[in-house]
Amino acid sequence: MVNPNVQGKKYPATNPYLVGREKIREFAHAVKSTNPINLDVFAAQAAGYNDVVAPPTFAVVIQERSLATVLNDPEADIDFSRVVHGDQRFVHARPIVAGDELVSILEVASVKTLGAHSMVTFETKIFAEGAELVCTAISTLVVRGGE
């Protein structure tokens, strides 16, 4: 059972993550993207970007770094082996581009209990240098109760 008292808890900013061009290409191939904006620097620059653009779900890589902090927090008491991903959303203020250095700040938006199960919603704000908000990632995990 997830500790309901962590609702509203904010976790400190993660260490900066430097988004690499090859990392974007690797992720793009993994999600079956063939979009030149993800892969080809010249195509991305012709479309007005500084470098290749990350696929719309790439922010999960940054979100995971914040989530790892929560899953290791004894106060939250989340048993990762019982976790199922319920839903996920990414709201982009602008696309993530190679060269961005990103940090994330996670807040536990809500903890709900449904019988033996818990539903925890996390809101992770992802910032580039100068505290520029790039993306808000919202994720709900379902934690199945013990037998």
């Binding site: 793009a28 990350a54 719309p56 319920g86």
Partner: protein, 140 residues
């Protein structure tokens, strides 16, 4: 790059359908690229030990592949400003044959003032929907 005239679009219009073959190779590749190394996505024995019928695809892989239908239509991955899904059913990936994910995108809403279109995606595996409320807002 293709330019889409927002005035020519209609709600309900199909923008595209793509079949994605997800193999065990796809899952290992996604694990490496994303950093999600949960063994339920590559080890049959582990998946079975936690009560699953077999190895299943990362929900985030299904989500990430599905949105490509909207990306291909608009031609620019940076134009997807908002994308959300619910994970409703697992996609089991057979060791030999993999799994075929069929994704169709339709226009769900047109906001001419903002120049944005909502694309509603359906993703099916074995003719069962695996994502719920999969919606991508695209800036034209």
């Amino acid at each position: 790059m293709t330019h889409i005239n927002i005035a020519s679009l209609e709600v309900g219009q199909v923008i595209g359908t793509t079949e994605f073959l997800l193999t065990r190779d796809s899952l290992v590749r996604y694990a490496g690229a994303s950093g999600d190394f949960n063994p339920i996505h590559y080890r049959d024995d582990f998946a079975q030990s936690v009560g699953l019928d077999g190895v299943l695809a990362h929900g985030m892989l299904t989500m990430g592949a599905s949105v490509q239908v909207a990306v291909d239509w608009v031609g620019d991955a940076g134009k997807v400003v908002d994308y959300g899904v619910r994970f409703t059913k697992p996609v089991f990936v057979d060791a030999q044959d993999g799994a075929v994910l069929v994704v169709t995108g339709k226009i769900g809403e047109i906001d001419a003032e903002k120049g944005e279109v909502r694309i509603d995606l359906t993703a099916t595996f074995n003719e069962t929907a695996v994502l719920g409320k999969a919606q991508a807002r695209v800036r034209l």
